[in-house]
Subunit: 218 residues, 2 copies
DNA sequence: TAGATTGTTAATCGATTAACAATC
DNA sequence: TAGATTGTTAATCGATTAACAATC
């Protein structure tokens, strides 16, 4: 079904947004859309949309446009959202809890199997139907249950320790909220990094630049 | 001090990482580094590092390298981390609370002035030393206090409503965790988007692609 | 058939890497 | 001075946009 060209990361990063817009169209009962119309809706170029969607094969029809439900399904398949990758979350602090409550794992292709923390005060307590396990049990657990992905919601040093255990147990997918650089040490993994502090710095940088250029105009 | 070329977003996104590595070097008492050595440490190319740092003027010295503390200070200045931009947080749910507890605003150039929510059960309760205010008071508040940035930790629909109020009150900086697309409507703002659900989808996509290419090899 | 719109190729733009003269 | 390493220009690579033939 899908072409065998490898998809560039620039394209991959745009896919979730396409997915969201197509879901909305579908929910609004719109069954057909042209690259031009979608481009206007999304603030992108029609050319880019056609290029992007063509990475996976010709889903459109000349003179007609794209079939929304069909395109949506294809996109789900490409993203792999119908998967049930087994996942564990490490670090049930503020961030971990927020992720746990805020993110819909199942609709993004993941099944959360367990939560680990090293804080004795919260070990054995329940969160979202899962009992928080002791981090010391991580190695044994991962050798029993095949885990596809780990969500690292812990500080840099702990992340480093835990990553080593996880990698040795065969875990190759990481959603990494720490500043520990997984890809520097492990080359055959997939790591998606979310650096909140960096993101806020970027905002600060942009605001600052904005101010400076405004002042320069005066 | 800084050159007046506008810095490309690709460069801006790398700055926080430079900042982190330089801080670490500084804390380890290393006062001098060459682009080559830094490149190895960071997994980048020496050429890129020299290009990036040169956007802001020549901080290095031929035959010597870069002075770490000096470069660190320059970078802080460029990022604007010495600013005290006034900020408010909207939405004190799980995500908002995690941000509140997990992110160090002050060291990223922001001063958190207030927190708003519309849930009567938590209004007037205290969080991190700030009393949660009623969202209905947002307009009045922002007309009294000049706010530089808003952190939107609320669902899409609420984000849309609140953004309108904020924009009308002159707020131009946004750290946006919702799926509401601020930049589509407002063009003279600075918006830094963090889409956790999209990020997880990207991970799912990469894992899926990985599997497929592994299977294809067999 | 004529109009619309894709798939795809070619042209442009921007970002990264390589090379090297300048200079500490 | 000689060696090292930057700042900067040139070459390459990749991503985006434009154009248009194919075709529904």
């Amino acid at each position: 079904m899908s072409k065998n060209k490898k998809i560039s990361m620039s394209v991959v990063r745009r896919l979730p947004r396409y997915y969201r817009f197509l879901l909305e169209l579908k929910n609004n009962g719109i069954y057909r859309i042209s690259s031009q119309a979608l481009a206007e809706k999304m603030g992108a170029s029609a050319s880019q949309i056609r290029q992007d969607l063509n990475c996976f094969g010709g889903f459109g029809q000349q003179g007609y446009g794209y079939d929304v439900p069909k395109l949506f399904d294809e996109l789900s398949g490409i993203l792999g959202l119908d998967s049930r990758y087994s996942a564990i979350l490490l670090g049930a602090g503020n961030l971990g809890r927020a992720i746990l409550n805020h993110v819909d794992f199942a609709s993004r292709g993941f099944e959360l199997k367990a939560v680990f923390d090293k804080n004795p005060e919260i070990i054995d307590s329940t969160i979202n139907g899962l009992t928080i396990m002791n981090s010391d049990e991580l190695y044994d657990y991962c050798n029993q249950v095949k885990i596809d992905a780990a969500f690292l919601c812990l500080p840099k040093d702990s992340a480093e320790q835990m990553a080593d255990i996880l990698y040795n147990c065969g875990v190759r997918g990481f959603w990494n909220f720490s500043h520990y650089d997984l890809s520097m040490k492990y080359s055959d993994i997939v790591a998606e990094n979310v650096h909140l502090n960096d993101s806020l710095m970027t905002l600060c940088c942009c605001i600052t630049e904005n101010r400076r250029s405004e002042n320069a105009e005066d």
